[in-house]
């Protein structure tokens, strides 16, 4: 038997792979290529439109950060082998609950936010428990949640306030410690200094004369970065991260090895609900109001960002950093088309096309990894 083995270097039929090819086979590949391509494209076609001055950068950064927040949750859940289609409805629902608790019922905003987070986590857990217990596809279960939550989000304000938008959250949130964690800005002093030394433009007249046009980093962006870093470390560096991969890769094999698959999946559903509520809270604090139509279609945008980031729809493979790049591509293109003066409906065409490319690329990468043909 051992005579057949030519040398101890391995099987002669396995071609050695170059380091370059090795480096290519990673989930973030599509995201990295896409990000570079998108920046090059807009640098060429929209350079003088103000897209890359301080205001422009802040503009697409904020939009990208929004996508990132929900993409992190969707990414971890997808790697764990499930979908959540109720993300968009959860955004609308959470925002509405904060407004109802704080404005209509007059609770302090910090309490409204905490109770809303608890409610969202419960809904996420229910999603997860139903999926795990019944074995139904999460696609169907969360599609039901999508309609249920959206229905309540429209019904509640109409019954209570006879309107579908509840305003006045800004006044209620004035001076609230927890609201500032979602609606405030950090590094305002630094940005004032940037303005003073001329690194970024300042207002030249009006009541804000002398203040920088960008006066700090919004908490929305801080949350996005925080969630991406925590999600990435959780997924790649912890035991729980290994369980997430295992649960999505093959739930039965994972169970046989003692991985608590059900707990992992339920907690990932709670994670997407948490991310959606972070998004909703930041949005409500920024706009000062909650609307019943907020977050429409966000579930698909989150999933697309995750797929562009290299995750497999079938679970078990993906990257939080990739998903963050997918979200960045989204934000840059959506706002970039605006800066470049392109009709904004073309953004959807772009979405569809890039989604198709991403899925084909992912399938190809998967074949290389698993050696399937």
């Amino acid at each position: 038997m051992s005579q057949a083995q030519p040398t101890s270097t391995g099987d002669e039929r396995i071609k050695t792979r170059s380091r370059f090819r090795e480096a290519l086979i990673r989930p973030e590949l599509g995201g990295i290529v896409g990000t570079v391509a998108v920046f090059v494209f807009f640098a060429l076609f929209a350079a003088d439109s103000g897209m890359f001055n301080s205001q422009g950068v802040m503009n697409w950064s904020q939009v990208s950060a929004q996508f990132m927040i929900i993409a992190v949750g969707a990414c971890l859940l997808m790697i764990a082998g499930e979908f959540d289609l109720s993300v968009g409805s959860m955004i609308g629902f959470s925002g509405m609950m904060i407004a109802i608790f704080s404005v209509t019922m007059g609770w302090p905003v910090w309490l409204a936010i905490i109770v809303t987070f608890i409610l969202a986590l419960i809904v996420g857990a229910i999603n997860g428990i139903i999926v795990v217990r019944t074995g139904l596809p999460s696609f169907i279960v969360t599609l039901a949640t999508l309609f249920i939550l959206r229905g309540f989000t429209i019904y509640l304000p109409q019954t209570i306030e006879r309107k579908t938008i509840i305003g006045g959250v800004s006044d209620a949130a004035q001076g609230d410690w927890l609201a500032a964690l979602f609606g405030g800005k950090i590094l305002t002093g630094l940005f004032q200094w940037f303005g003073d030394v001329g690194l970024i433009a300042t207002f030249e007249r009006g009541s804000r004369e002398g203040q920088p046009v960008v006066d700090g980093i919004p908490m929305l962006i801080v949350w996005a970065i925080l969630l991406v870093v925590v999600g990435h470390v959780l997924l790649t560096k912890t035991t729980f991260g290994n369980w997430i991969f295992a649960s999505g890769g093959d739930a039965e094999a994972a169970r046989n090895s003692g991985v608590p698959v059900n707990k992992v999946k339920i907690s990932m559903f709670m994670c997407t609900a948490f991310c959606a509520t972070v998004f909703a809270t930041c949005q409500v604090m920024e706009f000062g109001s909650a609307g019943a139509d907020r977050g429409l279609l966000k579930e698909f945008e989150a999933i697309i960002a995750v797929v562009i980031g290299g995750a497999l729809l079938t679970g078990g493979y993906g990257s939080v950093l990739g998903a963050a790049l997918g979200a960045l591509i989204f934000g840059v293109v959506q706002q970039g088309l605006f800066f470049a003066g392109v009709e904004s409906s073309l953004f959807r065409v772009f979405l569809g096309v890039i989604l198709l490319f991403a899925v084909i690329l992912n399938t190809y990468i998967r074949r290389i990894i698993t050696g399937e043909r």
């Binding site: 560096k237 094999a253 994972a254 046989n256 003692g258």
Partner: protein, 261 residues
Amino acid sequence: MSDDKPIIEMREIQKHFGSVIALAGVSVNVYPGECHCLLGDNGAGKSTFIKTMSGVHKPTSGEIYFEGQPLNFADPRDAIDAGIATVHQHLAMIPLMSVSRNFFMGKEPTKKVFGLSLFDHDHANDVTMSEMKEMGINLRGPDQAVGTLSGGERQTVAIARAVYFGAKVLILDEPTSALGVRQTANVLATIDKVRKQGIGVVFITHNVRHAMAVGDRFTVLNRGQTLGTAKRGEITPEELQDMMAGGQDLAQLEGSLGGTV
């Protein structure tokens, strides 16, 4: 070998599913360092029996003794903790994950970094590479995906994993049934290595030749009952084959197939 006490002893195990009697009183014991082959045709109760041994099913009646102590597993985790490891035919490895992540799946080593408990990838990679080398598998690297390994190599990784985590009894559920000749030989060689380390191996198969290659004792199951246990040398492959299939019918078939079955 038989002077030792058995590691695991199953006495008169019965298992009923509703009105179906899957096991009607099966007794098997396994000694350290032996390979006990469990043979039987499809539906003979092999799977039910090993699932009872590994804590998946609770026996309807009968007793299990592990190292002389009566045992009552509440779930598979208890069995794993006690040292009874099962390597399933298909459901052992996750193709998209690296060998090292698979190797430590469910038992990840951790290290503290800034007070956070993190997966110790360096340790996991080192152990995986050295254990694989011992089993005769040359990996490109510990981050090579299991999907790139052959079926036999996957079984070997699963066996090496069980041994590394201190299995005293290793249950192999048809590890060779989907493999080619060469790969089967590799897995059988692995079983032989493991047995020599003093681990009791329960080898489930319906291939008599594979069983004869490594088995020390052979138990044949048929319709939920033991047809007896024989030691190596006391029984011929033909006799085993006949017992598995229920004798006469196969003799007739064999005649028409020219004795090739």
